[in-house]
């Protein structure tokens, strides 16, 4: 069965790019969220196999949202989406429990390689 | 579909039974929410949970009548959270099947109009109601 993915980013544009990458890669995007608060709610509701999480978002940033998601489910797989120059934040997210990261702008082959690794499919 | 019928002052309203978690007697006082729209009545402690409660009269622009009893709080089931709606009184549960279009100037939270015998009943949409509350906060 296709793995379920939740895409979190405050930019609709970015979400669409990431969603298309997943669709082309054989994944099912079960939901999307535009901020960290929504991300936590959607995670609980949809129980996806994987989350891609933007770092900088309104209301609650990606690091806090990751922490909150893992507090509810310590097996959650959260992959951070970061830009170059956000290394310190990415490391903080990894401390918080994120399993991997992808760098924006996202390239399909990079995203799918990371995600498949994380899911143990590669 | 089965609906919970209730009153705001003299007017009758309805919400789908499936969208409601429970109905409780309104507490004497609410904790006021800072910087909130006028329709936000406050929060109440419901068995250890902090539940936001909206005064449905304010939200739907229903003119307040003479001060009645404490009123009831209808708790909308919103998944992992709840939204309380302060209303005047619950009338009961009725099946409403034919729901016509809403009045032209009705709030976005109104799904449509139904009739129970000769009495008109305004049917509300729980999702739109929730969104209307959020909008009241962001456009305040």
């Amino acid at each position: 069965m296709a793995k379920k993915v939740l895409v979190v980013d405050d930019s609709v544009f970015m979400r669409d790019i990431i969603k298309d990458i997943f669709a082309a890669g054989g994944f099912t995007v079960v939901g999307e969220a535009g901020n960290g608060v929504e991300a936590v709610e959607k995670y609980k509701e949809l129980k996806p196999d994987l989350v891609t999480m933007d770092l900088v978002m309104p209301y609650r940033n990606g690091i806090d949202a990751t922490r909150e998601i893992l507090r509810g489910d310590n097996k959650a797989l959260v992959v951070m989406c970061s830009a170059l120059g956000q290394e310190t934040m990415v490391m903080e997210a990894i401390e918080a429990g994120a399993v991997d990261f992808i760098v924006k702008p996202p390239r399909a082959e990079d995203v799918l390689a990371v995600v498949k690794k994380v899911l143990g499919e590669a | 579909m089965r609906h919970v019928l209730f009153r705001l002052e003299k007017d009758r309203y309805a919400l789908p039974l499936s969208s409601i978690r429970e109905v409780v007697v309104a507490p004497d006082t609410f904790t006021r929410v800072p910087r909130s729209p006028k329709a936000m009545k406050g929060v109440m402690n419901l068995r250890g949970r902090v539940v936001p409660v909206v005064d449905l009269r304010e939200l739907l622009d229903v003119a307040p009548g003479p001060v009645g009893g404490p009123g009831r709080v209808v708790l909308l089931d919103r998944g992992r959270r709840e939204l309380g709606l302060l209303i005047s009184e619950v009338d009961g549960i009725e099946s409403l099947e034919k729901i016509g279009p809403p009045a032209p100037k009705a709030s976005l939270a109104v799904k449509g109009l139904a009739r129970l015998g000769a009495i008109p009943v305004t049917v509300l949409d729980p999702d739109a109601l929730d969104a209307t509350v959020a909008r009241a906060f962001t456009t305040k």
């Binding site: 930019s11 790019i17 290394e87 702008p105 | 910087r35 402690n45 250890g48 549960i93």
Partner: protein, 660 residues
């Protein structure tokens, strides 16, 4: 980096729509900028520019991305020193916004992008003149090399199982980071963290700080991993990390044969540590540790704020030092949270005695069996549970268990049995108290609920059995001794449920007629505890995190000095702006008749300020609850808590209160 690997035209509409929104917002911000620059405003502008840059780069509009990047740089400089903002800076920003809008319009129309070279030069020159650095981009100054000790062991418990005295085997591990990786430092850090979940890492080369800074010669990392996992498991774990290859792995020390594992292994424990070495620490000292670790976190963010005022040239090394400090302090805070973990035995140890006393009073005979009492929880949760657990035990013996003769008649052993089983379930602790008594009579509960006017008959008939059982937790379900005579329960059950939910737990009840009842508490391991200064404004109570409070001054309003027509408060050597808390919160305060008004001095984002309140109500340690929709839309609220009297109280985020 290579261009995007998708057909960008499909996203063009979205791109132009969203980029235009950001640019319009940015344009509005520039207008506000001319009225006065604040850090919050520049932050907002920075975010918009950053978003436009990211989108343009994704669409491979290099020129647009470059222009947005230069704007971002300028705003970064401005953020460090908002006072440098002036009309001509605002002009250049506005000009850049217009030019970016031109780019987006051209892109949307599939026309060539306009040439903005002149503007780019102007932007980098302006930025250079403000930072004192040359206009050409320079490499960031190398970070100071800090030697670090090997990371602390991943242990979370002071007492390892005594049955495994042998040290776990060590492996020598060599990793190679893919040279094409975008952020080799973060990749290396991720690999290090992932191996850390398997055991303890020693002899890390290069040192962690070098890895984090991306200084990994030839992309090679070597380390020793002490773990009880197999080589195969390590290999499998590393296979889940993209862009890092496990070049080699070899066992260093042959493991001593493992003694038969204990029947119940606490998953929280690392097998095979040194024999237990523990010390006793008074609980107040642990509380102080937590307080001070919390203060350190706040102090660190204060340093970060101050660093914004430094000249831009000094900021990169300073920021890096502050980042590192922040990570260390957070590590310390986590360790202190771990050290607060207390075995649940602290409360279960006294239960056998209590059970005997209660049973004797009721002329019953009871066996109490407790398992899993060494499982640990945050001390605050353990403290909070002491009374509820005693309630549950008393209820089980008083009402759950039948009198001896009734048991014999029902073919049950004459001696009643109460079991308390504690176990870890993922990141929660499940505490289950069960009896083998008569069970709860669900129909009887329904009758009682209706009789007491808590629910109507119609409401009750619609309930499932599970929901009906939860009714025993309704306040007012049982108020008098009458329930002692029936199989219903209720003495203090509302208090039990409240206490459990207070610490973020849940309560479930299960019953089988004639077979018994069990109460299952699912509890979090830790709680977010904050210390508050409670203040009164009109009829309302608010909590201010004590870590943000610098002091309180009581004085009369008419004795405040005035500065630029606004009241100010003399506090030590400084003069602070005064805000009426009631006005900030938009709630009515007391009529201003009090002779002396308390002014609470708090740390805001842009320095200290004084909040006028109506009353001081004292300090209290509370458990913080998050805000759900729509309350999370209110700027300036950090959370909510429920006071001992049942009143919900909002906790304020002072910094956002004055800026948002």
């Amino acid at each position: 980096m290579a261009g995007p690997s998708w057909d960008t035209s499909r996203y063009l509409t979205l791109f132009s729509g969203e980029a235009t929104e950001h640019l319009e917002a940015l344009g509005k911000d520039v207008v506000s900028l001319e009225k006065g620059a604040t850090v919050a405003l520049i932050d907002s502008m920075f975010r918009h520019a950053h978003s436009v840059k990211g989108m343009a780069a994704s669409m491979a509009f290099e020129g647009t991305a470059k222009l947005a990047h230069l704007l971002e740089d300028l705003l970064g400089t401005l953020r460090a020193d908002v006072a440098r903002s002036n009309a001509s800076v605002a002009d250049v920003i506005l000009q850049t916004v217009d030019s970016l809008s031109g780019h987006v319009k051209a892109a949307a129309a599939n026309e060539p992008l306009p040439d903005s070279t002149a503007l780019m030069t102007r932007l980098s020159e302006l930025n250079a003149s403000m930072t004192g650095r040359p206009a050409t981009p320079t490499a960031p100054s190398p970070a100071p090399v800090v030697e670090t000790a090997p990371p602390p062991p991943k242990s979370t418990s002071a007492a390892p199982p005594a049955s495994n005295p042998a040290a776990p085997p060590r492996f020598s591990v060599k990793l190679k980071i893919n040279p094409a990786s975008n952020q080799p430092g973060v990749r290396g850090f991720l690999a290090y963290k992932r191996l850390g979940t398997l055991g303890n890492v020693f002899d890390l080369k290069p040192p962690l700080d070098d890895i984090k800074a991306g200084r990994v010669p030839q992309g090679t990392i070597t380390l020793e991993l002490e773990t009880d996992q197999t080589e195969d498991a390590i290999t499998r774990t590393m296979r889940t990390v993209a862009d890092v290859e496990l070049e080699s792995i070899a066992a260093i020390v042959k493991a001593a044969p493992v003694v038969a594992a204990p029947a119940e292994v606490d998953p929280n424990r690392v097998v095979g540590q040194e024999p237990a070495r523990t010390i006793r620490v008074r609980t107040e000292v642990m509380d102080q540790f937590l307080d001070q670790a919390g203060e350190l976190l706040l102090a660190t963010s204060r340093v970060r704020e101050l660093s914004r005022g430094m000249p831009a040239a000094q900021r990169p090394p300073l920021d890096e030092a502050v980042d590192r400090l922040h990570l260390l302090v957070k590590g310390l805070h986590d360790k202190v949270m771990q050290a607060r973990m207390t075995p649940i035995a602290v409360i279960t140890d006294r239960l056998p005695r209590a059970a005997r006393d209660i049973a004797r009073r009721r002329n019953r005979d009871v066996d109490l069996v407790i398992t899993g009492e060494d499982i640990e929880l945050d001390r605050a949760i353990v403290d909070e549970l002491a009374d509820p657990v005693l309630h549950l035990l008393r209820n089980a013996i008083d009402h759950g268990l039948e009198p001896t003769e009734e048991r014999t008649a029902a073919n049950k052993p004459p001696k009643g049995k109460v079991t308390i089983a504690v176990r870890r379930l993922r990141d929660r602790v499940v505490f289950e108290l069960s009896d083998d008594g008569r069970g709860i009579d669900v129909e009887r509960v329904k009758v009682l609920v209706v009789e007491r006017g808590l629910l109507t008959r119609d409401q009750v008939t619609a309930l499932t059995e599970r929901e009906t059982l939860m009714l025993v937790c309704l306040p007012g379900f049982s108020t008098a001794a009458d329930v002692t005579d029936i199989s219903g329960r209720g003495v203090g059950m509302d208090a039990v449920r409240r206490a459990v939910e207070q610490v973020g737990g849940t309560l479930e009840i299960e019953t089988r007629a004639g077979r018994g009842t069990s109460f299952r508490l699912s509890l979090p391991l830790t709680v977010a505890v904050v210390n508050l200064l409670l203040v009164g404004v009109g009829d309302e109570v608010y909590g201010l995190p004590i870590g943000k409070v610098s002091g309180v001054v009581e004085t009369a309003r008419d004795r405040l000095a005035m500065s630029q027509n606004a009241p100010v408060l003399q506090f030590g050597q400084s003069v602070l702006p005064v805000h009426e808390l009631s006005a900030l919160l938009e709630v009515p305060g007391d009529a201003r008749t009090a002779a002396l008004v308390p002014f609470v001095v708090v740390d805001g984002d842009d320095g200290r300020l004084a909040l006028a309140v109506d009353r001081l109500l004292g300090q209290q340690e509370v458990v913080l609850k998050g805000l759900s929709k729509p309350l999370d839309l209110v700027p300036g609220l950090a959370g909510v808590t429920i006071l001992g009297n049942g009143q919900p109280v909002f906790i304020l985020d002072v910094a956002r209160l004055v800026t948002a």
